[in-house]
Amino acid sequence: MKLYEYAIRRLILMVFVLFALAVFIFYLTRGLLPPEDALSQFITPRMNDAAKLSLAQALGVATKSCPSYAAFIGQQDGCVVPLWGQFTGWISNALQGNWGYSQLPGVTPGTLTTWEAFAERFPFTAELAISGTILTILIAVPFGIISATHANKLPDHVSRVISLAGYSVPQFWFGYMLQIVFVLYVAIHGAGILPSSSTLPTSCGLCLSDPGTITSYTGLPVLDAALSGNFAYFWDSLLGLALPTITLALTTIGALTRILRSSMVDALHQDYVLLARSKGLRERTVIYRHALRNALLPAVTIAGLILAFLLGGVVVVEYVFSWPGVGAAAVAASTAFDVNFLELYVLVTAVILIVANLGVDILYAKLDPRIRY
């Protein structure tokens, strides 16, 4: 089957998986909690009971025939819509973007919708995740290749120890260790060399003060600063991004380096490498055109898993570095019982991961002509 047919088939599958996930999350949240909890994030402070009842009916949680809000809370017969019926109400509200009001700490209740709370934090997480991905690839690929071509010699040992340490280290601990070293102990101009938190630090040793403003094109501070031509802002944002990115990428660098090393070592022992050398090709050609092309395949297959891990890691990293993204907000949301925020977060992440996995599979098919879907 052709590639675009495969892509369409996968997209349809994605809809099903998302649907299944939505059902799962829905039953998890609605099913285990009393029905009035479903309203908690839609209620504004000045609603009276009648208003709450109509809200419950509008959301599809209470039946039209329910006499009063008190009856609804008491779960009187015929007052509460059965779970599978509530699902349609939930889905239609969700798809319209109606996720109720945010209960995140620091937000006055009823002022900010969950969707807005999510949307304003999302770009920061995106920035962190993207830079983590870039750093992972930038470091893991050369390390993996060098490790394999110098197998069992010093560069290989060093690289293996670093990558092993990388995925054995607790991310939160590493984040704080970096902070202790670079923010507390190593100092320039009387301040820690790197900033401790916030995306736009102005008081750190290497920072440039008074960075001015930028216009927001993409919502990602570093990118916007570059696009606005504001170097000071760009530089300060980059400094703020440095430590969180390193912490985030540490584990995935470790994993990717290992896989690349092992698949490169495998590839370099293959017969076609011997033939390539026997043809008198340059060693560089043999390594990149013959061995690496094949060694990338196993690495690409786990790319999806690595991305999933990265997206999970942002939760911890944002928490540690007080990064204003959705990850740190998720932890706070849990404490504040902002269930809608968590539901939204899970579904958005799922969409991203599924699309990314589809992209990875297509990439794999392009790299390996033997794959025919």
């Binding site: 293959q270 017969d271 076609y272 011997l274 033939l275 390539a276 050398r277 026997s278 043809k279 008198g280 090709l281 340059r282 060693e283 050609t285 055109r289 013959h290 092309r293 094949n294 395949l297 790299l367 390996d368 002509p369 033997r370």
Partner: protein
Amino acid sequence: MEIQQVAKSTPVLEVKDLRVVFNTYAGVVKALDGVELTLNRREILGLVGESGCGKSVTALAIGGLLPENAKIIGGEVLLENRDLLKETKRNLRLTRLTAISFVFQDPMTYLNPVLSIGSQITEVLTSDRKVFQKELVDYRLDELHRMEQKGDLPEALRVEKDRLKAFNQSAKLPRKELNRLAKLRALDYLRTVKLPDPERVYSMYPFELSGGMRQRAMIAMALVRRPKVLLADEITTALDVTVQAQVLKLLRELKNEIDASAILITHDLGVVAEICDRVAVMYAGNIIEVAEVNELFSNPLHPYTQGLLASVPRPDTAAKELKSIAGFVPNLIFPPSGCRFHPRCPKKFDRCPAVKPPLVEVSPGHKVSCLLYGG
């Protein structure tokens, strides 16, 4: 790197007293114990022996392709009087690029699965621009001249001919042009190895071809750069008998068309009988007999050769039992002393364990390494 003009009688390749050892966890394997080989111009030399006797190691040593744990501890490999063992790595690589080609046993594993056949053929020609630039241009010009003699050239080709003639060799040929000429030459060779529809095969991938076709593609890959020496290591072993016959037929035809000398490594005496001119028999890291093919088959001197020939099952005799050579292939970490064959030799006598027999010429062109015949 200059190619010296040599007389036809000088051998193309001479291997003298080649000794190779391997460092393994189990010990030091003395794989090659003084191998002596001579390859003359335009001849196919068969190299026969059991598995593990060192045939492939010899070929890899000639090409400078031994693995890391191998060490060449003595001897010379003379390619037209240049000792390859003393060359720099870079010169060795260039030698492999232009003068020595390999064809290996299993085309499925020896071809890169993710690259097209065509690109694997042309990459040799285009990798080092300076090396093949002149040759590619000349080759194309020759072809255009030949076409011209058969009739008038169409406009496009005439323009091409003029452009190529005017090309100054000290300049850099543009990459697109280089690739185009390389592709044309590759297609030519795909035709030469009798592959149907060369244009299609050029863009196909190894997994899309049959075993026989893949092997032909490997042969084309080896011949496309017009090497002086072709080293073919068990190239028919992985093929069906019928396909084997086709490939051998191809090699016989190519032998006359192409000015190359080849060493054909095999354990199959039938293959040797089909296309080799001379044959060398190898045992446990030594060459123990060399002769012209007919001479070897009719008059084998070394007890091992005699045993080999006797063990080939023949449908025309009434023999009831299959004959074999007694004993096992020796462990080369602790090789037998003296003549390495003596533990299994039916004709051994008291001096055999003590003295290693040299390779002596018993009759013109027929050498043997056995104390029965001298040493």
